[in-house]
C-alpha cells in the first residue's frame, strides 16, 4: 500500500469509460452536495426572508384583514417598547453571565481533569452527565426538586448547616435560571478546554519547568496563550446556544419575574399575543445580534480549522 503514496496525485484516473467534458465533470463533483445545499436553503433561508418581509407589516393574526405595510413601524415599536427593551437586556445579561461562569468553572475542571489521578475516567463521566440531561428535564429538576423553598434539595442541605432557606425562584429569578444553565453548560466548556489542554506542546512545558518556571508561570505564559482560541471558541459557541435559550426560561419562570429573554418574547408575542409583525421584527433583531456574535465565531472556527488543516 505504501508504494502508492509516491504515485503522482495528478495521474490520470484509470477510467475506461468515455471521459466526460470538464463542465460535466464539475457538475458530477458538485452533485452530491446539491441535495443538502438545496434543503438547507429551502428550510432555513426562505423562512428568514419571510420573517424579514412580515416584519414590515402591521399584522395581528386575530385581525387578518387589517394587515398593512408599516415600513419600520414594528422596529420603532419594538425598540421603544419597555418590556421588549428589557428582554434585550435580559438576553445579554443571561448569556454573558452563563457563558462567563461556565467558562471559568469549565477551565478549573479541565485543569483538574488534565492530571492523572485515580478514577479520572469516572469523574469525567460524572462531570459530563449534566450536559446529557434533556434541557426541559433539567429545568424541571432545578425548579421543583432543587429550588422548591419548602422541600427542595438546596434548602434541605442549607437546613443541615443552619443557613437561610430562601425562595430561590421568587427572590432571584434570573440567577435561578442562570444557575441551572451554568450547571448544564460547564461540562460543554470543560470538554472543549480539556481538548485544548491536551493539545499543548508538552516538550515546551517540560523545557520551561527544567528552566525553573513555576506552575503559575507555565500556566500564565504557556497554557493560557495556547488556550485562548479554545476559550474564544467555547465562549462563542456557548453564546450562540444560550442566546437562543428557550427551555429554561419557559420552564422555570415562564418568562415571568423579569426573566423573559428575546426568544421567549418572540414566542409569546406571536403564540399568545398573535402580533405577527412585532414578533418578526423582534426575530430580525435577534438575528442581527446573532450575526454579530457569529461573525466572530466564524473567524475563530476558521482559524482553528486552518490550523488543523496545516497540521494534517
Amino acid at each position: 500500500m505504501t508504494a502508492t503514496t509516491t504515485a503522482p496525485v495528478a495521474a490520470p484516473p484509470v477510467h475506461t469509460v468515455k471521459r466526460p467534458s470538464g463542465r460535466m465533470r464539475a457538475w458530477a463533483t458538485r452533485a452530491p452536495l446539491l441535495p443538502a445545499l438545496i434543503f438547507m436553503i429551502a428550510v432555513t433561508q426562505l423562512p428568514f426572508v419571510a420573517t424579514l418581509v412580515i416584519s414590515f407589516f402591521d399584522w395581528n393574526s386575530l385581525y387578518p384583514d387589517a394587515r398593512s405595510f408599516t415600513g419600520f413601524g414594528n422596529y420603532t415599536e419594538v425598540l421603544s417598547d419597555a418590556a421588549l427593551r428589557k428582554s434585550v437586556w435580559t438576553t445579554i445579561l443571561l448569556t454573558v453571565a452563563v457563558v462567563v461562569a461556565s467558562l471559568v468553572l469549565g477551565l478549573g475542571l479541565a485543569l483538574l481533569l488534565d492530571r492523572k489521578f485515580r478514577g479520572r475516567g469516572l469523574v469525567r463521566t460524572l462531570l459530563i452527565a449534566p450536559f446529557l440531561v434533556v434541557p426541559v428535564a433539567a429545568a424541571l429538576l432545578w425548579k421543583h426538586v432543587l429550588y422548591n423553598p419548602e422541600y427542595g434539595l438546596l434548602n434541605g442541605l442549607l437546613h443541615y448547616v443552619g443557613g437561610p432557606e430562601p425562595d430561590w425562584i421568587s427572590n432571584t429569578p434570573l440567577l435561578a435560571v442562570e444557575m441551572s444553565l451554568v450547571w448544564q453548560w460547564t461540562p460543554f466548556m470543560m470538554l472543549i478546554l480539556l481538548a485544548g489542554l491536551q493539545s499543548r506542546d508538552h516538550q515546551q512545558i517540560e523545557a520551561a519547568e527544567v528552566d525553573g518556571a513555576s506552575a503559575w508561570q507555565v500556566f500564565r505564559y504557556l497554557t493560557l496563550p495556547h488556550l485562548r482560541r479554545y476559550l474564544e471558541l467555547g465562549a462563542l459557541l456557548g453564546s450562540i446556544y444560550i442566546v437562543q435559550n428557550f427551555d429554561a426560561v419557559f420552564t422555570i419562570t415562564s418568562g415571568g419575574l423579569g426573566t423573559a429573554n428575546l426568544p421567549y418574547t418572540v414566542y409569546q408575542s406571536f403564540y399568545q399575543a398573535h402580533e405577527n409583525g412585532l414578533a418578526s421584527a423582534a426575530g430580525v433583531l435577534v438575528v442581527i445580534g446573532s450575526i454579530i456574535i457569529a461573525t466572530f465565531a466564524l473567524r475563530v472556527v476558521s482559524s482553528l480549522f486552518r490550523e488543523e488543516a496545516s497540521r494534517a
Binding site: A36, I54, A215, Q217, P263, A279, L298
Partner: protein
C-alpha cells in the same frame, strides 16, 4: 521569557502534565472527585427521589434513606389515571430517528464532496452550512408556523422531522467532513488503481475508516432532536406531541409530584444519557462542529 530568571521550586499545583505524582497531586485528585460529585449530585438525587414515595420526596430535611418504591414510575406511565407518556415517547423516537436518518442521507454525499473529492471553494460551502446553524430558531419560527397552518401540517410529526434535519444538517456535514478527511487519499487511489469502482471504494475503503465518526455524528443528531422543545411546543398539539412537550405539560394542578417529576425526567433523559456516553469520545468534535479534535 523573563519568568525563567525566578527560581521557584516546581511544586506544581497545576502543571497539567501527566507525570510522576507530586505531593499536591493527590489533593487535587480529591478536589476533582469532589467537583464531579457536586455536579452529579442533582442527577443522583433525581434518581433517588424517583424511587421514593411522594410523601418521602417532599420532606425537609431530605429523607435520604426512605423506603424505595416504583410508584413514581407507575404514576408516570399512566397507571395512575393520567395521560400515558407512550405516544409522546414514540413521537420523539420517530422524529429523532427519522431526522437522523435523513441527515445521514443528505450529509454523507455532501461531506464526500467536501473532503474526499472536494468541489472548488469547498471551504466556502462548509462555512455556508455553519452560518445557517448560527441563525436563531426564532428567526424562522413564525413563517414556518404560518406555512404549517395553511398547509395543514400543524401537529404533524413529519414537519418536525424536516425541521430537525435542517437543525442538525450543518453539524453533521461539518463533523463528517472532518471524519472523512481522515481517510488517507493514498488508500483510495490504490483501490482505484486496483480497478475498484466508486461503490466498492465507498463501502470497502471509506466506510470502515469513517464508521466510528458516522456513528458519533448520528448519536449527536439524535440527542439534539430528542431535546428540542421550541419547535415541538409551537408546531405540535395532541397527536404529534414529543416527550419534552409532554414533560412541560404533565405537572400542572396536582398535589405532590416530586417523585413523579423525577421519574419522568429520568426516563425522558435516559436515551440522551445513553447516546451521550456512547459518543463520549467524539462529543467535543461534534459539539465544536469539528473545530476541536
Amino acid at each position: 521569557m523573563s519568568a525563567t530568571a525566578v527560581r521557584v521550586r516546581p511544586s506544581s499545583t497545576e502543571s497539567g502534565r501527566p507525570g510522576p505524582r507530586r505531593p499536591k497531586g493527590r489533593g487535587l485528585g480529591l478536589v476533582a472527585w469532589l467537583a464531579g460529585i457536586i455536579f452529579f449530585l442533582p442527577i443522583a438525587w433525581m434518581a433517588l427521589t424517583s424511587f421514593h414515595s411522594e410523601q418521602d420526596a417532599a420532606t425537609n430535611p431530605p429523607s435520604f434513606g426512605a423506603a424505595l418504591t416504583l410508584d413514581g414510575y407507575r404514576e408516570f406511565f399512566g397507571t395512575g389515571g393520567g395521560a400515558s407518556p407512550w405516544p409522546a415517547l414514540t413521537n420523539s423516537l420517530v422524529a429523532s430517528l427519522a431526522s437522523t436518518l435523513l441527515v445521514l442521507i443528505l450529509a454523507l454525499p455532501a461531506a464526500y464532496a467536501l473532503s474526499i473529492r472536494p468541489v472548488k471553494k469547498w471551504t466556502d460551502v462548509l462555512f455556508f452550512f455553519l452560518s445557517t446553524k448560527m441563525l436563531p430558531v426564532v428567526a424562522g419560527l413564525l413563517p414556518i408556523y404560518l406555512f404549517a397552518k395553511n398547509t395543514g401540517m400543524l401537529d404533524n410529526i413529519w414537519l418536525l422531522v424536516i425541521l430537525y434535519t435542517s437543525m442538525n444538517l450543518p453539524i453533521a456535514v461539518w463533523m463528517m467532513q472532518s471524519f472523512l478527511s481522515e481517510v488517507p487519499v493514498a488508500i483510495i487511489e490504490a483501490a482505484q488503481i486496483d480497478g475498484a469502482k466508486l461503490p466498492t471504494i465507498l463501502t470497502r475503503v471509506v466506510a470502515p475508516i469513517a464508521l466510528p465518526g458516522i456513528a458519533a455524528t448520528s448519536l449527536i443528531c439524535f440527542i439534539f432532536s430528542w431535546n428540542e422543545l421550541l419547535f415541538a411546543r409551537v408546531l405540535t398539539g395532541v397527536v404529534a406531541e414529543t416527550a419534552p412537550v409532554f414533560l412541560t405539560g404533565f405537572i400542572t394542578s396536582q398535589g405532590l409530584f416530586l417523585a413523579k417529576v423525577c421519574a419522568a425526567s429520568l426516563v425522558v433523559s435516559l436515551p440522551v444519557l445513553a447516546a451521550g456516553f456512547a459518543a463520549q469520545d467524539k462529543l467535543v468534535q461534534g459539539l465544536s462542529l469539528g473545530a476541536v479534535k
